[in-house]
Symmetry: C2
Subunit: 135 residues, 2 copies
DNA sequence: CGTTGATAGGTGTATATTACACATAGCTGC
DNA sequence: GCAGCTATGTGTAATATACACCTATCAACG
């Protein structure tokens, strides 16, 4: 007993590669310039982020609009298909700011993990089980 | 026309505060030490991250186990209710590493947003609409 | 004119994830 | 016994996502 079944290769990694990161990143882009969905989807790809489904991008933008974080209007000034131009609202800006804070906290936690956070030198070979002596 | 309906206060912010961040953070904690669910949920809270539902934490851990990123065994060495002790598998370690890279990219994007990425000085008052002259 | 291809914005749906409420069980103190 | 903390779960409704698919505009080509 007390045997951990190590190393069985992960079946298929059924993880969503995204989460609120899509929402946050879209708002971030819109903080600098107004843009339309097709363009945002491209910027996402160019930024080296994992590929997003364009349908998801469009749907997410509409949802952001429903909740008041962005606003949009049809732009027919250019030739070609009409574009729905989005811009960040004040509420969206506030939301983004708070989310950037949260993201920073996650980053801090992960950063500590990478560096090996224990001041008493983390002994790699003998992983401590739990934080033994504490409280 | 072409009027954007600004400032309508967001209805209720129906956003999940988490995403794969929970998965990633759990794996990150397990990289340093083995732990059980209750403990991990506490560490999450102590790290200043937005509160997680404990049920979600437990469910996520089981799911991580199903996919082979962590392994577990019942620990009855201490008094009190039995604990399911988790540890990171090799697959989990690899997965975590790649995810930290991805997270870094998101951070980079958001960071640029904060700093005001345009070298030509972003004029706050006159937000450029789209990346006008380009291509 | 017809068709192809790029641009642009969607929808339907099956599956996955999550928050919320609630359930179970061990153990301690009274 | 029983209240309360520890510890781990489940049921379910709401939400989110990937994948496949659809519509429409416009430019170029023959």
């Amino acid at each position: 007993m007390a045997k951990s079944n190590e190393q069985e290769p992960a079946q298929d990694t059924p993880f969503r590669m995204h989460g609120d990161l899509l929402t946050t990143t879209l708002l971030a882009f819109l903080r600098n310039w107004n843009a339309y969905g097709y363009q945002l989807a491209q910027q996402l790809a160019e930024a080296g982020l994992p590929a997003f489904d364009s349908g998801t991008v469009y749907r997410t933008l509409r949802q952001l609009e429903r909740t008041g974080l962005v606003s949009s209007f049809w732009d027919t000034s250019e030739s070609g298909p009409a574009r729905r131009m989005y811009s960040l609202t004040k509420a969206g800006d506030l939301f983004l700011s708070s989310w950037i804070d949260v993201l920073g906290k996650y980053q801090a936690v992960l950063q500590k993990t990478i560096e090996g956070m224990n001041p008493d030198r983390g002994d790699e070979t003998a992983k401590r089980s739990a934080k033994s002596a504490q409280s």
